[in-house]
């Protein structure tokens, strides 16, 4: 097995012992990125001039990684997978990127996303759709699909993503890898292209829970440039990751699991099996109910809030100070032409929906009611967290769909099973997806979500469950 495929701790030890060099790892990572680009289309930009870094005591030093192309990277093309930014080269680094630079991590590429991170399929980026390494006739999910595919294929040991609805945790499920978004504000949002500011989270993909813990440990921290970030210096996600979890309490959401039982028996029995693992670990698991009206309203609430916030956040894309400018006879024409040509039809539709929701006559019934429903959901879950350390749910309702598969967006399956992860973003809760098994040679997953600022506890539970499950990621199954 190549050192690039090992855990971050093992790679670090090998680098320290001189068994492998940072240069060799970077070169191998770049080679894999090129080798699999035609097959997967994970990258917008592969950084062929990426350099090795000195090895320090930091576990990430000298090891390659990739970042979603909505992380601002100084001097490196950053497109958000949109034509409107197809020529944009930032003049500053996102705080998370700066922190990884300080850790001597080696950025080898920028990954494809759904245009402006608005989507859940990774099929709408301006450089084409991302394919699922498990089965290239299927999608990987989105919006952080390029990062998910790159980790699932073993191109990089970890990659950065962003999560506004479920954009890390759903593709992690479809790719058979770990995907985590920590508590809102644990990682500074400075330099992440804003989609819906009250819901946007940064996070990462990795092959294991412990690898993800090392990455988030290095990305987190209070930042003067993001007033919603907070001091987490007392949080160490690695330190207690192996602690005994007996006595911990989890609940599962009855309405979601009932729907899974109705619609996908194999997935359901896998989930029940995971609950048995919890019990074997000494974790007490109970069923709890959340009003089905609240749960069915979660996705519409997400759409209303995110589309409305996105219309405002993306109003800076005019083509004039930066971006792919189109000509016009006056500044208004320049902006209208730039935005009409620069945004895809799907993005313009979402913006129109946002505009509709924000019209004076609709604001109260649509936008404010969505914000109210968000509160009701968050308050119910927070109330349950008083009795529990977190909740455990299936991460999706099915395996990754085929590219042409249609799903009824008004069905209970869609509203309850395919979109419940958004609750984690509503409340800013730390939330992690880990693989739980396979159906028809495709991965499925569970998600564990906990109270705000209890990130370490969620990592601890996920790590112990991961050991019980014993899932082998795709990239470790074949000889390269």
């Amino acid at each position: 097995m190549s050192y690039l495929d090992k855990s971050l701790e093992e790679i670090h030890a090998a680098l320290k012992d001189g068994k492998v060099t940072s240069k060799e790892l970077v070169e191998e990572s770049l080679k894999r990125a090129h080798d699999y680009q035609d097959e997967l289309n994970s990258f917008v930009t592969i950084l062929d001039d990426a350099k090795e870094k000195d090895i320090t005591d930091n576990v990430l030093s000298g090891i390659p990684y990739a970042a979603k192309d909505n992380y601002s990277t100084k001097g490196i093309l950053t497109t958000a997978s949109s034509n409107i930014l197809s020529n944009y080269v930032p003049v500053f680094d996102a705080t998370a990127i700066t922190k990884l630079k300080e850790a001597n991590a080696c950025l080898i590429g920028k990954t494809v996303l759904d245009e402006l991170a608005m989507g859940g399929t990774s099929t709408t980026g301006h450089t084409g759709p991302v394919k699922n390494p498990w089965d290239t006739s299927r999608l990987i999910g989105g919006s952080s699909g390029g990062s998910a595919a790159a980790v699932a294929k073993g191109i990089v040991p970890y990659a950065l993503g962003s999560d506004t609805g479920d954009s890390i945790r759903k593709p992690a499920c479809y790719g058979g890898i770990v995907g985590v978004k920590p508590t809102y504000g644990l990682i500074s949002r400075w330099g992440l292209f804003a989609f819906a500011s009250s819901l946007d989270h940064l996070g990462c993909f990795a092959k294991s829970v412990k690898d993800a813990a090392y990455v988030i440990n290095n990305m987190k921290g209070i930042d003067d440039n993001d007033m919603t970030s907070w001091d987490s210096s007392n949080i160490d996600l690695v330190k207690d990751i192996d602690k005994d979890v007996s006595g911990k309490k989890l609940f599962y959401i009855k309405e979601i699991v009932d729907e899974l039982k109705n619609s996908n028996q194999k997935y359901y029995y896998n989930f029940i099996n995971i609950l048995n693992y919890c019990k074997e670990l000494g974790i007490e698991v109970k069923e709890e109910s959340i009003d089905i009206k609240l749960l069915k309203g979660a996705y519409p609430t997400y759409m209303a809030i995110s589309c409305a916030e996105a219309t405002s956040n993306n109003s800076n894309l005019t083509g004039i100070p930066f971006g792919n400018k189109k000509d016009g006879d006056n500044p208004y024409e320049v902006m209208i032409n730039t935005r009409t040509e620069g945004f895809s039809e799907l993005i313009r539709r979402r913006f129109v929906i946002g505009s509709f929701i924000l019209q004076k006559e609709n604001q109260e019934k649509l936008f404010k009611n969505a914000q109210r429903l968000r509160r009701l959901i968050v308050e119910r879950v927070t109330e349950l967290f008083k009795k529990y350390d977190g909740y455990i749910v299936p991460a999706s309702g099915d395996i990754a769909p085929h590219f042409n598969e249609e799903i009824d967006r008004l069905s209970e399956k869609y509203l309850l099973l395919e979109n419940h992860l958004v609750i984690g973003d509503f409340g800013g809760f730390p939330s992690i997806t880990i693989p739980s098994g396979e159906i028809d040679n495709m991965p499925i997953a569970i998600n564990i979500t906990g109270p705000i600022m209890e990130d370490a506890k969620i990592f601890n539970i996920a790590k112990k469950l991961e050991e019980k499950i014993g899932f082998t990621p795709l990239s470790l199954r074949k000889e390269k």
Binding site: I320, N369, G428
Partner: protein
């Protein structure tokens, strides 16, 4: 709730400084039917109008940084990504006045 029309769509689009194209309205109208049904789900909670809207994930004291004067962007960097630049400034078509 008001039904969406082609005129509404173009009006909302123009408020956001872009246009919808002629062949895009059909898809949009179909999608909008689903969106409106989704939005109906939001209003189905009894007494929802009495709940305070939530604009932030959780309660948190906001600590503002010290108000120290600092420079974050040089002129060179500020114009680096602009397509049209003249005399270190971003060039746009004339906004006021007569013919050029």
């Amino acid at each position: 709730m008001k039904k969406i029309t082609k005129e509404n769509i173009q009006d909302y689009a123009l408020k956001l400084m872009f246009k919808m194209k002629e062949d895009e309205y059909d898809t949009f109208e179909k999608e909008f039917e689903t969106i409106l049904k989704h939005m109906d789900l939001i209003g189905q909670i009894d007494g929802i109008e009495n709940v305070e809207p939530m604009t932030f994930p959780f309660k948190k004291d906001v600590i503002l940084r010290e108000d120290v004067v600092t420079s974050t962007l040089t002129t060179e960097d500020a114009i680096k990504n602009a397509k049209d630049v003249i005399y270190d400034e971003v060039k746009v078509p004339r906004v006021v006045g007569g013919e050029e």
